[in-house]
């Protein structure tokens, strides 16, 4: 296998709206998801969860469960298979009697049917000894300074002298913005089928897992189970969404693996319930953003300070990089960002679509709206005046900074000109009407460690293989187009294979890095294949290659940008909010497939609007768990809420970043959207709500 720096490729298939190559399987129901694969004599596994936030398991009484028809066994910390490594506190389940959060897995029930397993789990009696726990994020307990924030960014940054600059500024804005806990809630709940066997005299664990990265799951589990990575095979041919929550293996995957260890080879199916997802499969921390902006009368920023207070779990650290985008968004000579965490006895937070950028840009972009008002400026104009020449903290030029183009094009499309400056100045019948704008950004990322395989097939066809996952984004289709252009053939000449650790290594479907990372490897492998085997290869020839990076990351700062415009209507009597129009305009590099890309961007906008208006996981600190743990109480946007959502993009290509010219589109749609909606709600009503979600109670009067 070789690594090479791939050359840019021409777009022929790329840029066309190729329908999803797996569309028929999905709409006809023949696509099998993680617990739907036919396996011989499967057992069902159900989780028994702690009902205290901190303490220990005193005893587990299995008798009633075992007496229930169909129940085969109960596994708890006294007899669960031992793990070789236990550093990952989230995955090291059933290794001791400690309880670290309410909802933690304390036992497993195996049965012949999922109904019997569920009833068995209900019948297991767990005696617990409770210890005082802390489960509430407050300003006064968020004092822990992590070494790094996700994924490996500086915790704090400082340039110049913020305090002096603020003291001398004409206009100072100081406000606190809050975002709530949020849960990813993909359509397909997390689920795993697991079985153990032997191969070449060694143990072999096989999983069908609903995952965003099969290689990552194998890499995480294998050492904990005392195995080499090759001994764990993970497959995820189809995944019903993840939004980050399937980016890493969560505890239920280990539960399935441990349970299957005890069955003498019978496969185990474990499907997490919607309610269990609120405790076990990751979520976005609540955030408190303390902003201070100092500007001159013309709105030019002299100082930007963003102090973040948020939480992590005592079991495993996850520090959301909430201030990361503040570091590169606007020019200001004096700047300071920081992250402090409350370390709580709670479930383990994780990635949720645009971790960091989503809550951070919500706060920053509402603060900018407030600053625009304080300076008497149009909000779009304020952003124009603070456009930096270089990435303000890295000091590098942006390879492409499309923000102002997005703002201008969006403003024209949306009809921003002539917007009344005064809030609460437009009423249409029963509704107050307002408009708002916000910027969006997301870093362009390419992950190392990707390898693709090209194999020539009969009839001038090619098998293209990479162990990445299509979680419903359309990656399988986009990669088919990339492979076609890289090999200079039509997309129907490509047989794409993914979703299996038996295929070459690939990074996670996360960080909007999938197409960039996997696509670059495919292009590298295709170019290497052509070098080795020419354009008329005999069938059966193979090449594996990965894509090297040049020195571009040292020369440029790579970011996507966007501008979001929202119209919000607030009912004068009831305070109810509606978003009849939402427009996002994006600079994201080349769009490989306009159909799947639009669905990503529109989906991001909808999720951002949903975060603005509805989504809130309410943790009851007395118990320690989230009590709005179903979709009747954790509201996400319903179809009736999604009326005029539109996304478009600038025609561009960034081949300094990837040979395809693309930069990644999965997350930017959610960034800034909640701020645009919040700014429009303020413009409609004159009521500034700084804590999400914006619910009717805040506007009724």
């Amino acid at each position: 296998m070789t690594d090479l720096v791939p050359a840019p490729i021409d777009a022929k298939a790329m840029g066309t709206a190729l329908p999803r190559v797996d569309g028929v399987e999905k709409v006809t129901g023949s696509a099998a998801y993680a617990v739907e694969h036919p396996v011989p004599r499967p057992l069902a596994c159900w989780l028994v969860q702690s009902t205290i936030a901190r303490g220990r398991v005193v005893s587990v009484d299995r008798s009633a469960a075992l007496a229930h028809p169909g129940v085969l066994s109960v596994v708890d910390h006294t007899d669960a298979p031992r793990l070789a490594e236990t550093d990952n506190g989230e995955l090291a389940i059933l290794q001791d009697d400690r309880i670290g959060f309410r909802g933690q897995i304390v036992a497993l029930v195996l049965a012949e049917s999922s109904e019997a397993a569920r009833e068995g789990a209900r019948l297991v009696r767990v005696e617990q000894q409770e210890e005082p726990a802390e489960a509430e994020l407050r300003e006064d307990n968020a004092t822990y300074r992590p070494e790094k924030v996700n994924p490996s960014m500086e915790t704090d940054t400082e340039t110049g002298d913020v305090d002096t600059a603020l003291a001398g500024a004409d206009v100072v804005l100081e406000q606190t913005y809050r975002t709530p806990y949020e849960h990813n809630n993909p359509l397909e709940p997390h689920a795993t089928t697991a079985w153990w066997g032997e191969e070449d005299g060694r143990d072999r664990l096989t999983l069908y897992d609903s995952s965003q990265g099969v290689h990552g799951v194998a890499t995480a589990l294998a050492p904990m189970l005392g195995m080499e990575k090759e001994q764990v095979r993970v497959m995820a041919p189809y995944v019903g969404g993840g939004f980050g929550s399937k980016g890493e293996a969560h505890a239920h995957v280990m539960a399935a693996a441990l349970a299957a260890r005890t069955t003498g080879g019978r496969p185990v199916r474990l499907a997490v319930t919607r309610q269990q997802m609120f405790a076990l499969t990751g979520y976005r921390t609540a955030t408190i953003s303390k902003f201070r902006l100092g500007a001159d009368r013309d709105g030019r920023l002299a100082a930007i300070e963003h102090g973040v207070l948020e939480q992590t779990s005592r079991l495993r650290e996850f520090a959301e990089q909430t201030a990361s985008s503040t570091r590169m968004m606007y020019a200001a000579p004096n700047r300071r960002t920081s992250h402090r965490l409350a370390v709580l006895d709670v479930a383990v937070p994780s990635w949720m679509r645009a971790p960091g950028e989503m809550p951070g840009m919500y706060a920053h972009e509402v603060a900018m709206d407030e600053l625009a008002e304080a300076c008497g400026l149009d909000p779009v104009e304020l952003r124009r005046r603070n456009e930096p020449d270089l990435d303000p903290e890295k000091g590098l030029p942006f390879d492409r900074r499309g923000l102002l183009e997005c703002l201008d094009r969006g403003a024209a499309r949306f009809g921003w000109a002539g917007r009344p400056r005064e809030p609460r100045s437009t009423r249409d019948g029963e509704w107050w009407v307002g408009t708002g704008a916000a910027s969006a950004t997301y870093p362009a990322m390419r992950q190392p460690g990707n390898v693709a395989r090209i194999e020539s097939l009969p009839d001038a066809r090619y098998a293209v293989s990479i162990g990445s996952v299509d979680i419903g984004t359309g990656a399988r289709t986009a990669l088919t187009q990339i492979a076609a252009d890289a090999l200079s053939v039509g997309p129907d000449a490509i047989d794409l294979h993914l979703g299996d650790t038996a295929l070459p290594p690939a990074s996670v479907a996360g960080g909007s890095s999938g197409t960039s990372s996997w696509g670059s490897a495919i292009v590298a492998a295709a170019q290497q294949f052509r070098t080795e085997h020419g354009h008329r290869p005999a069938p059966g020839l193979r090449t594996e290659a990965g894509a090297e990076r040049g020195d571009e990351a040292e020369r440029f700062s790579f970011h996507s940008f966007g501008a979001v415009f929202a119209e919000v209507r607030v009912h004068r009597d009831t305070g109810e909010l509606r978003v009849p129009r939402l427009l996002g305009v994006y600079s994201v590099g080349r769009v490989v497939n306009p159909m799947t890309a639009r669905s990503q961007l529109v989906g991001g906008l909808v999720m951002g609007m949903s975060a603005a208006l509805f989504e809130e996981s309410v943790r009851d600190p007395r118990f320690g768990h989230v009590v709005t743990q179903d979709l009747a109480t954790y509201h996400i946007a319903a179809h009736a809420d999604v009326t005029g959502v539109e996304a478009e993009w600038l025609d561009e290509s960034t081949t300094t970043f990837t040979p395809m010219g693309s930069r990644g589109i999965g997350e930017i749609g959610i960034v800034g959207t909640a701020a645009a909606v919040a700014n429009a709600a303020y413009h409609a009503t004159g009521i500034r709500v700084r804590d999400l979600p914006l619910t009717a109670d805040a506007y009724v009067g």
């Binding site: 009902t51 229930h68 028809p69 109904e115 569920r118 009833e119 209900r122 309610q275 029963e430 009597d573 009831t574 305070g575 109810e576 509606r578 208006l613 509805f614 309410v618 009851d620 007395r622 118990f623 009590v627 709005t628 743990q629 179903d630 009747a632 109480t633 509201h635 946007a637 319903a638 179809h639 009736a640 809420d641 619910t695 009717a696 109670d697 805040a698 009724v700 009067g701």
Partner: protein
């Protein structure tokens, strides 16, 4: 899920006898509420007596109005032309609830007897007097945005979730019940109860009481009726507050008769009788409606989380009247 026996009732009387004889038996209607509860372990009956196929699914025109079988699906009831013309509030309330799929499955009887959506009731790991009498009420002092503002007790602070029940109380509907002791007729407004020190029981029905039908009496009041529901999203959410208004107005704009019933504010549909009294016999104005609502709300005792419901239900009441009487003078606020 606990293993249970499933019985298909052969007729209403046999269904009643089967359930009445077995404290562990429950009627099964469309199952959209009960089956969730079985899965979550909120209730663990030993026997389900399926009544959903019994021929209680007709509309019968009577001298007084319309009688609706308990098994009429929510979607069919909402769509019926007679209901839409004669009792628009009923149709509107149903269409403001749940989703198309659920309304296709849910029955008239089951809708009225759906249980609270209190998050602690729904979670068997937390104390709840309604689910487990004597265990305590987690909602008092907990997540309280949806809590009651009227008629709550220390035992239970939740609200009744049915939109249909609110509408029925506004049109003087009656619920026909077949019980172990025979047939009864209960005014819809008296079906549900306040918690007092017994949070367990939502209604005045006893074990084995089967709802067989709902009577809708025709009236000028019912013909001029509407429903306003305020919720957290545009569709598919339970009410924060809701208002059913039925109005009979004289030529000169004086209120001949009126019903004002509030949802989302109490353990039962809240018939705002004080507000009705304040409006009856007087000219209808926006100010009069607001003053009437305030008179009713004088006894409201909201927790801080639910305090917004006071202005919300007042405004929603004004909105409902305005929808019914577009000419209603809009006064400056």
């Amino acid at each position: 899920m606990k293993e249970l026996a499933y019985v298909r009732a052969s007729d209403p009387a046999q269904a009643v006898a089967t359930v009445a004889d077995d404290p562990d038996a429950r009627f099964l209607g469309g199952g959209t509420n009960l089956v969730d509860h079985l899965k979550l372990g909120i209730t663990t009956p030993g026997t389900l007596v399926d009544i959903s196929h019994l021929p209680l699914d007709g509309f019968e025109e009577t001298a007084d109005g319309l009688t609706i079988g308990a098994n009429v699906r929510n979607s069919d009831l909402a769509a019926d032309r007679r209901v839409r013309a004669g009792w628009p509030v009923v149709s509107r309330a149903l269409l403001a609830g749940a989703s198309g799929q659920i309304r296709n499955q849910a029955t008239t009887g089951g809708n009225l007897l759906q249980r609270t959506r209190c998050v602690y009731f729904q979670d068997p790991t937390t104390p709840c007097n309604k689910r487990e009498p004597g265990s305590g009420c987690s909602a008092a002092g907990g997540y309280g945005r949806y809590n009651a503002i009227l008629g709550a007790s220390p035992a239970c602070v939740t609200v009744h979730p049915s939109d249909l029940a609110v509408a029925l109380a506004a049109v003087d509907a009656a619920v026909l019940v077949l019980g172990p002791g025979g047939r009864r007729r209960i005014p819809a407004a008296e079906l549900h109860r306040l918690p007092g020190d017994d949070a367990e029981h939502d209604t005045v029905l006893g074990h084995g009481d089967l709802i067989t039908a709902v009577e809708l009496p025709a009236s000028a009041l019912a013909r001029r009726s509407t429903y306003v529901k305020v919720r957290d999203r545009a569709s598919f959410a339970f009410a924060l507050v809701s208002v059913a208004v039925a109005l009979d107005l004289a030529e000169d704009g004086t209120v001949t008769d009126v019903r004002v019933v509030w949802g989302g504010v109490a353990h039962k549909p809240w018939r705002a009788e004080r507000a009705e009294d304040a409006l009856r016999g007087r000219p209808l104005t926006e100010a009069a409606v607001r003053a009437a609502a305030d008179a009713e709300l004088a006894s409201a005792a909201p927790s801080s989380d639910a305090g917004y419901k006071v202005p919300m239900v007042r405004n929603a009441t004004a909105l409902a009247f305005r929808r019914l009487v577009p000419a209603l003078a809009e006064e400056d606020r």
